[in-house]
Structures are given as structure tokens and as C-alpha cells.
């Protein structure tokens, strides 16, 4: 069966003919604002609600549709659920949101079950498993729900470093040779692994910053004091030449951007001075009003 044909056939416009979109509403779909819906889009109002949740897959979506209507999985009204499912899929497609292939496969399956439900069945086979086209799907839904619940319970268990904490003490001066320092290669391999992972996760962006700036950030931060100001010029390390100055300057900018240092000036045009941000609450609350 051709999935696309099925999808185009659904949803049945005679079911709930009510257009929810007037083009001005801002919808958020998976956190992304959607400014305008296509004018010709048919959206059942209930489908819009569904958008507000995000789903782990077609089974999750189906479970949601069933559960929110307090329906029994074992007696799933396939025609109605199929209609709602297709409406969701249709809107997702209209919004050009990326839809995992599994959703389309499920759409096809639902359509198939629905059509098989319409076929006359031999009488004696009425309650037979083979005879009920829903049975495989029902079992799948039950099993998925079982693990969905298990996952929630697993998450609720007290977990180390989140809910409970290990008690440890440091150890110093172990006799014998300490484990070797990492080699540069080892370090690079480890970082390559992280970056590989990070790029898979795609949301994290590791820019090509100059290490010298990073290093300078650390050393400047370390040299600054929360209670005393230091001359900005003194940090520029003119002895290192132009490049050293630039590196220091960029490091100071970075630290400022990160909110780690603050600037002060006793009067206009006087030397700019810096200190580490964060006045210890107990020690001194040093600012004038």
C-alpha cells in the first residue's frame, strides 16, 4: 500500500469540518513558533492540542490519543483513532515539520486495519486473533505502555548524583608511581570522541577559539581579586608584544562577556580597572549605591 496515497486520502473532511487556523495565531510546535499556517489547511481543533506535546514515536502518539479520551486499549475504536492520527500527521506535513518515517508506516498500518475492519468476517472466527485486525497493534501498544511506565518509574528512583550523593574523601601522596600522565595523543583521541558525539547531538557548537585566549582567561581570572581592582593596562602584558596584548585584550573581553569580571573607573578618563566579580556575601558588600 502506498503510504502517501493513504495520507492524502485522510483526513475525512466530513468528520469535523472546522478550520482552526486564521493565519494570525502563533503556534508553538515542538518549541518552534509557527507564524502562519497554510491557508488551505484543514486542522481539526483537537489536532492542535496534540501539537503541544511531543511524542516519542507513533506508538506514543497513539497512546496519547487513546488515553486522553479514556479509551480502552483493548477496545480501540480504530476508525476514530485513525482519523485523529491522520489529522496530526497531515498538519505536521503541512507545517513541513520533519516526521520520522515510522509515523508514515503507522499511518499506513492504521489505514490497513481500518479497511480490514470493514470487511465481512467469517462468523465463527469472530473472536479469533487473526480475525481481529487490531490485535497485533493492541499488543504493541500495551507493551510500549508497559515500558513507558517502567521508564517513568526508573526515572523516579533515587539516582546517584541527582538525588543521592556519594561521600568521599581525597587521598594524597599515594606511594608508588602514580598513573601516567596522559599523552597528547590520548587527550586528542578523547576530545575527538567528544566532538564526534557533540556533532551527533548537533546542538552543541564548539568553535575554533584560540587556545591562547582561553589560557589567558584562566590566568587573568586567577590573578584578579574580588576585593581589589587591578589596572587593565597591567593585564595586557606588553612584554609579549602585540600578539600578547591582543590575546590579553580578547581574554578580558571574553571574561566580561561571561560576566566573570567587572570594570571600574574612579572617574571619567582615569585608568580602567578590573576585578573578579562576586563579592563574597560574608566578607564585604563593597559597592557604593
Amino acid at each position: 500500500m502506498d503510504t502517501r496515497d493513504e495520507l492524502n486520502a485522510a483526513p475525512d473532511p466530513s468528520a469535523t469540518a472546522e478550520t482552526g487556523a486564521d493565519g494570525e495565531v502563533l503556534y508553538r510546535v515542538h518549541g518552534e513558533p509557527v507564524a502562519e499556517l497554510p491557508a488551505d489547511l484543514y486542522i481539526p481543533p483537537d489536532a492542535l492540542e496534540v501539537f503541544l506535546d511531543s511524542f516519542e514515536g507513533p506508538l506514543d502518539l497513539l497512546l496519547y490519543l487513546i488515553r486522553r479520551q479514556n479509551l480502552d486499549i483493548l477496545a480501540i475504536p480504530i476508525a476514530e483513532i485513525t482519523r485523529q492520527y491522520m489529522a496530526y500527521i497531515e498538519v505536521m506535513r503541512a507545517l513541513r515539520l520533519e516526521l520520522a518515517g515510522e509515523y508514515l508506516v503507522m499511518a499506513a498500518l492504521l489505514a490497513e486495519i481500518k479497511s480490514r475492519m470493514l470487511l465481512p468476517r467469517p462468523k465463527e472466527a469472530d473472536a479469533d486473533e487473526d480475525a481481529d485486525p487490531r490485535m497485533a497493534l493492541i499488543r504493541q501498544l500495551q507493551e510500549y505502555e508497559q515500558f513507558k511506565t517502567a521508564a517513568e518509574r526508573l526515572d523516579a528512583l533515587p539516582r546517584m548524583d541527582r538525588d543521592v550523593f556519594a561521600a568521599g574523601a581525597s587521598v594524597e601522596a599515594l606511594e608508588g608511581p602514580p598513573p601516567p600522565a596522559p599523552t597528547l595523543d590520548e587527550l586528542m583521541e578523547a576530545l575527538a570522541a567528544v566532538m564526534h558525539r557533540a556533532s551527533l547531538m548537533a546542538h552543541h557548537h564548539v568553535s575554533t577559539e584560540q587556545l591562547s585566549v582561553r589560557e589567558r582567561m584562566s590566568s587573568i581570572l586567577d590573578s584578579l581579586h574580588p576585593e581589589r581592582f587591578t589596572d587593565f593596562v597591567a593585564l595586557l602584558m606588553t612584554a609579549e608584544g602585540r600578539q600578547g596584548v591582543v590575546v590579553s585584550f580578547l581574554a578580558v573581553l571574553e571574561l566580561t562577556k561571561a560576566g566573570l569580571i567587572e570594570w571600574g573607573q574612579s572617574e571619567p578618563y582615569s585608568p580602567i580597572r578590573l576585578r573578579r566579580r562576586g563579592t563574597p556575601v560574608d566578607d564585604e558588600e563593597g559597592g557604593p549605591v
Partner: protein, 239 residues
Amino acid sequence: MSESTPVDYHTPAERGDDEQMRAVELALEAVLFAAAEPVAVRELKAACEGLGEIDQALLEQALGRLQERYQGRAIELVRSAGGYRFRVRSRFSATVQAAQPERPARLSRALLETLAIIAYRQPVTRAEIEAVRGVAVSSGIMRTLQEREWVRVVGHKEVPGRPALYATTRRFLDDLGLKRLEELPPLEQIRDLADVASDAGLSLAPPDTEEDAGTGTNQRLDFDTGDADLEPVPPTRSL
């Protein structure tokens, strides 16, 4: 302030105890705090080398004393799959959290569901996980689970392609404070289809595995998680 305070917080029962017991207790204390991870009984024994004959009973007695020693304190000696560890008592969790405000990232539902399927169905292939979830399992999730050392490959299924079989690790149990898989919350029972589809004798066998009919309700937790070195499970002490 400690004017007359004795240096040593011995309880009366210990007064007469021999030096060995005390030495063992301190050695265990050092090792347990240094590790900050569960320490297996085997390693605890190794720590007591040079302190004379250490049998299981003595070791357990020393652990019991240690446990007792921290009664009423902010930390406690607990046991999980990997062995013994000191941890902050849960009523002080909020205090610790307030001091370490960087809360670990929440685990995604996709990861938790995958983990649950591995925990209850192990050993299991990725395709089997995907069959239950109805969606592909991302490589990122499998890698994160292994990186976290909650899941590992325990073998390969003898089917074409020899897919990897995943199982949970001891660390998974340790991180949840469990001694064994059976301590996981039981799976929700799958309601019997027979209730509805009744009389015609519906078979409830899961589609994938013929042999274990009724898998739905019967969690296969008897999988070997490497309990081997936990052997002498000391009966829950009454302290």
C-alpha cells in the same frame, strides 16, 4: 571545647575489643572513603592485608561497626550491587543540592525508555528495543548509555548480522542504589486480552519470541549481572 573529650568515640561494647577489629574497621573506613564508589568485598579484604586472618565474619562485623559508627550522622554506609559505599543520607540531599547547584541534565524520555527495555528484557538487541518503542533508537542514546556505564554489550545474537546484545551493568544498579535487578520496580502487568477477546482462546504469546509465552508479565530478570563476587550476601543486619 572538648575539654575532657576522649579522642576516641568508642562505644562501651568496643572497649574490650581487640586491636585487630579496630584496625580492620579503620582500614575499611579509609578505603571506602577513598573510593567514593562501591567497593567489592574482595577489595575490602585486600585492604586488610597485613592485619591478620580476616574471615568473612570478621569483615562483616567490622562493616557492621562502621555502619553503627555513622548512625545519626549525615552519611551512611550502604550496600549496592558493586559493594559497599558511604553516601550522604537522603535527608541531607537538599543540603548538598543547594551547595552544588549544577543539577545534572535530565534524562530524555527516549533514553529512559531505551534503558528500561534493556533493564527488563536483557540481553536485548537494538532491533528488539526498536520493535518495542516503534521508532529507531539513535546511536547517540546507545552511546550515552554505554558511556555512562549503565549499559554494555554482553555478546552477539546468533542471527544474521550477529547484532550486539545489550545488558545493564553493575554500575547501573549502583547508581540506583540497588543490589540486584530484581529490586527494580516490577513491570506493570499487561491486562489479559482474554478478558476482552475471551473464549476463543486467544494466544497471548508475544510476537517475537515463541518460547516464552506470557513474557508480557514475566520479567526476565534472572539474567546474570555478574553477581558472582557478591556471593556471601550478608543477611540484613539488625544494627
